[in-house]
Point group: C2
C-alpha cells in the first residue's frame, strides 16, 4: 500500500497543501485563499477539500495517509493541537484545528507545530541541514522567527514556545520591539526593521540615493536598501551593516548556547544574497571568541517556497515514527 503524508502550511493570505510520498518527495500541491473571516469550519473544509483533490488525482484515499503535518503561526497549544488566537485570524480563538482537520481526512494522525519550527525541521531533514544533528534556523521577514534542532530533535521548551529567537535582546534599552521588549534582534535585523531604520535615517535628513524611492512611495523597502547599498550609497551601506552585525552577534550567542554545526538563514531577506551572507560571516569572525577555533557553518536555506509543506509533512512523519 502506498504510504503518503500531507503537509499543510497555514498563512494569513494563503494555505498551501502538499501530498508527499514516504521519503517526503512532493507529489503534488495546491494553494487556497485563507479567508480566515469565514471561520474555522469553512477554512478546514477548504483545506480538506484541497487535500482530498490531491489524493483523488493520485488515485489514493485517506487510508493511504500515514500522517498529516500542520504549520501555523503561534501562539498555540501545540501538544493538543489547539490555536489560542492568531493576530490576523480572530475567529480561530481556541480552535482545535489539528483534530478538525484530522476528522475531515479519515481521522488520520496529525501534528500541529509553530510555522518557524516547521520550516526549521524542513530545512533540517530535507534541506540545508542534512547530514548534521545540531542546527539553528532563522527566518528574516516581517519579524524574525527561529528554530533549534539539538541531537536530531526540535527544542520545543517547557511551554512549547522555545526558539523565539527574534526576541533575544541584543541591545539592552534599545529599539522598542512589537513584543514589548527593548533591543530585540527583530527590532533591528528583520526585513521590516531594516527598512524602518533606513526610513528613520531618511526622515532625519541623512543624504542618500534612497531619497528617490522614499519621496515617491513615502517609505523604502529592505530590498531597496540592499540595492542602494550595492550601488555604494553610504546610508544604505550603514543600515545593511547594522543588520549584519546584529545577525552575526546572534550567531555568536547561539554558538555559545546550543552550539549548532550549522546556522541557516531563510525568509524574504535572503534574496539579498551574498551582500547579506558575506557580511554576517565577516562580523561573526570578528566577534567570536579566540580561545577555541570554530567550524560552525553559516548558510542560506535551500528549500524555497515549499519549505512550509515539506517541513510539515516531514515533521509529521518524524513525530509519529517509533524512533522519536
Amino acid at each position: 500500500m502506498t504510504k503518503t503524508y500531507i503537509g499543510i502550511d497555514i498563512g494569513g493570505t494563503n494555505i498551501k497543501v502538499g501530498l508527499f510520498d514516504s521519503p517526503i518527495s512532493l507529489l503534488s500541491k495546491a494553494s487556497v485563499p485563507t479567508q480566515a473571516d469565514m471561520g474555522p469550519a469553512v477554512v478546514v473544509e477548504r483545506i480538506a477539500n484541497a487535500a482530498m483533490d490531491l489524493l483523488t488525482q493520485a488515485k489514493l484515499g485517506t487510508e493511504q495517509i500515514e500522517a498529516i503535518g500542520i504549520g501555523t503561526p503561534g501562539p498555540a497549544d501545540y501538544p493538543n493541537g489547539v490555536l489560542f488566537r492568531l493576530a490576523n485570524m480572530p475567529k480561530f480563538e481556541n480552535t482545535p484545528l489539528r483534530d478538525m482537520i484530522s476528522a475531515k481526512l479519515g481521522n488520520r494522525p496529525a501534528v500541529l507545530e509553530n510555522d518557524a519550527n516547521v520550516a526549521c525541521w524542513g530545512e533540517f531533514a530535507m534541506g540545508a541541514g542534512k547530514e548534521i544533528e545540531d542546527m539553528v534556523f532563522f527566518t528574516l521577514g516581517t519579524g524574525i522567527g527561529g528554530g533549534i534542532v539539538s541531537r536530531g530533535e526540535l527544542i520545543t521548551g517547557a511551554d512549547y514556545n522555545a526558539a523565539e529567537l527574534g526576541h533575544v535582546i541584543l541591545y539592552p534599552d534599545g529599539r522598542l520591539c512589537g513584543c514589548g521588549q527593548k533591543g530585540c534582534v527583530e527590532a533591528y535585523a528583520s526585513a521590516n526593521s531594516t527598512a524602518a531604520r533606513a526610513n528613520e535615517a531618511l526622515q532625519n535628513g541623512e543624504k542618500s540615493s534612497l531619497y528617490q524611492p522614499f519621496t515617491k512611495n513615502g517609505e523604502v523597502t529592505s530590498k531597496e536598501v540592499f540595492d542602494h547599498a550595492a550601488n555604494g550609497d553610504a546610508v544604505a551601506i550603514d543600515i545593511v551593516e547594522g543588520t549584519a552585525k546584529a545577525l552575526a552577534t546572534l550567531c555568536v550567542n547561539m554558538l555559545h548556547t546550543t552550539e549548532p554545526a550549522r546556522i541557516v538563514f531563510s525568509g524574504g531577506m535572503i534574496a539579498a544574497g551574498d551582500a547579506l551572507l558575506s557580511r554576517i560571516k565577516r562580523y561573526f569572525n570578528e566577534y567570536v571568541w579566540t580561545i577555541k577555533s570554530e567550524t560552525i557553518e553559516i548558510c542560506f536555506a535551500t528549500l524555497g517556497e515549499d519549505t512550509g509543506i515539506i517541513g510539515a509533512a516531514s515533521l509529521a512523519k518524524h513525530m509519529l515514527s517509533e524512533n522519536h
Copy 2:
C-alpha cells in the same frame, strides 16, 4: 549486590571523591589536594586510592561500582574522555583521564563531562531542578559557567561545547572578556567582573564607602560590594544593579531560546542572597515581553558544596542507563 556510584569533582586546588548508593544518596566522601604538577599518573593514583578507601570503609569492592562520573574543567574531548589541556594543569595535555581512572577502579564504566554541565545535572536531577524537564543553570564565580537541560537531557552541542553561557554577548562592543570577545555577560556579572567594575569606579574617583577596603587591600571583592550596597552606598548599589540587569537580560534571552521552566543560579556570588535574587527577578519582569505571560521560576541552587560529586555520580548513572 549493593550498587554504588563514584562521583569525582576535579578542581584546580582539590579533588573531591564521593561514594553514592543507587538513588544517589551520599554514603561518604573524601578530598585530596590536586597537586597537578605531579602529573596525571600520580593524580589518578591519588583519586583511585581515595575511592578505594571509601569502598573499603563501606566493606565494598570495585565490582560494586555501577558507574564512575568525573567532572572536569574544559575544554576536553568529552565523548572520548580525554583532556586537551587545562589552563592550570599543563601536564594534563591530551590525558585520557576517564580511561586512566576506570583502569584503576576495576575497569568500571566511566563518564567525563564539563564541570558546569556536571553541576547543572546535579541540580537538575537531585536539587533545584527536581520535577521539571527543562532547566538552565548558571555558576557565578571567577567566570560564569552554564548548563542547559532540555526534555530531560543535557544539551552538549555539535562539538561538545554548548552552554558556554558566560560568553553570550549582551553588550556589543562592550567590556573585553578573557575569551577574546567584547561584551560577554561574564565581563559584567561574574563575581570577578562585579568586583572589577567596582574597582574601576573607585579608581575613577567615585565617592564611596568602598574606599576603606579599597585603600586597605588595593582592591575590593564582590562580597564587599554587596555588603556596602546593603548599607546604602550609592556606588556599590549601582554596581550590584548592573550585575542584576545583565543576569536578568540573560534570563530573558534563555527564555526565548530553550524556554526552561526554571533558571537556577549557583556559585560563590549567590551568598549575596535575596539582595541578588530579588534584583534579578525585578529586572526580569521589567525586561521580559508583554505579549505572553511567563511562569518561569528564577531561583538559587540547593545542593551546596557537594554539587560536583553529586552531579558526577548522577550523570554517570543517567548516561549509562538504558533510558538515555
